[in-house]
Symmetry: C2
Subunit: 225 residues, 2 copies
DNA sequence: AGCATAAGTTTGACGACTCAAACTCTAGGA
DNA sequence: TCCTAGAGTTTGAGTCGTCAAACTTATGCT
């Protein structure tokens, strides 16, 4: 089906950037940045993906995966997220380190090992960061959630997903008692300072920038309305 | 410390061939065969290992790892065997398939994951084939054992290690009830035919060539003397 | 409209790993 | 001793993924 480890990385990066981008297209520069290569390198690799019918691209435009490319990207994402779940649930590693580890392991997992892993973990639907794990057939169920930054003062909510998976951010959240599944309450909002104050249940109040809060997704349990 | 996946594969192959070879040197042709490359390729890679002080080699001679190379090879072997143990013990895969899977995974395991895996498995000393797992410091304890081919008629023994790890051989052994830890008895030996007949405890008699039997190691529990 | 700047593309080169094929050495008969 | 078969080496070339640097296009500001 698909080829090298490098190709897998490009597909995954394009897939994720496409989800984020407004135009549903991944800009070449961001693909390059995501992979840590020069834009020239990204351009020539994308050319290869296009030749393999994994992506579409026109000169000076954005990159978009084909159905085939999307299917392959979801397969990689499935491997990545199952491996992360395994590293946290079975091996007990901290969620702030598993992303990088999974990045390496995801390419070495065969379908047989993947299925055994899935079974061992009880066929989980979400990984430790709350990201949905694509099913083997490529189905992906995003969970309903809103950015924590949109909560109002006094709102109570449950944390369901963390989008920013840099180790630094994850360590801050864990240290604050903000993990997936935790409930919390908005104590105060200071729009001028761009800061909100949050109290996780059973923890003490922490301050977060609105920007950081916008990358944490929650589900409202009791609104202020 | 060490470099690419390819280099790791060469080191592991040389280490294993060196153990087997009479002269404690790995012949170039066998290195090439083990890695599935031409001898020309092996020659040039070995040249690189020598430049990195991982191996010694003189023109038209055999290859021998340096202390540094041996240390690196043991590290890879540790990863390989721990992964195999994990695949069998935790994920429940059959021992006839885990070798190839571990071959891919061993290169993607970081020290942190390796240690977590080791802890999760209870710091095992042997893998599912009975091969000793090198310790993190490079210590390796070979178990005392003799080839099953050296048993005499009527001898009882426990199977402690399987050297031939091709899927075909392992499937035969498993189907016969001959797994690591099993006890067995030699029913008959027919030197002319080069065949011995074995009865695993709780199983029925199976025939094996002396050659195949020589690659199965046992510990005598009751001799015929 | 005109132009500077940011974004993307192309080109030429390189390192890692590989092969095929020509070549060289070693060792074991006759 | 000589010669040859087998093992090993060398050379030239190719693929993959990468970079640096020269070049092209698009965009947004004045």
């Amino acid at each position: 089906m698909l080829a090298t480890e490098t190709v897998e990385n490009y597909l995954k990066a394009i897939y994720l950037l496409q989800r984020e981008a407004a135009a549903d297209e991944a800009p070449m520069g961001q693909i390059a940045a995501a992979l840590g290569v020069t834009t020239g390198t990204a351009t020539s690799m994308v050319k290869k993906l296009v030749a393999a019918k994994l992506a579409r691209h026109e000169r000076f435009g954005g990159v978009r995966l084909t159905t085939k490319g999307t299917r392959a990207a979801l397969d990689i994402l499935r491997r990545h997220r199952l491996v992360e779940t395994f590293l946290v649930d079975t091996l007990g590693l901290d969620w702030s380190v598993v992303h990088d580890e999974a990045e390496r392991l995801e390419h070495a997992i065969s379908p047989m090992v993947l299925d055994a892993l899935d079974r061992h973990l009880g066929r989980p639907a979400f990984d430790p960061h709350g990201d949905p794990i694509p099913r083997a057939d490529g189905a992906l169920q995003e969970s309903e959630a809103m950015p924590m930054s949109e909560l109002g003062s006094g709102d109570a909510a449950r944390l369901v997903r963390v989008l920013d998976q840099r180790g630094e951010s994850l360590r801050f959240l864990r240290a604050s008692g903000l993990k997936v599944g935790a409930t919390l309450r908005v104590v105060a909002i200071e729009p001028g300072a761009g800061v909100m104050r949050i109290r996780p249940d059973g923890g003490s109040v922490v301050s977060m920038s609105t920007t950081a809060a916008s990358r944490v997704l929650v589900r409202l349990t009791r609104g202020r309305h």
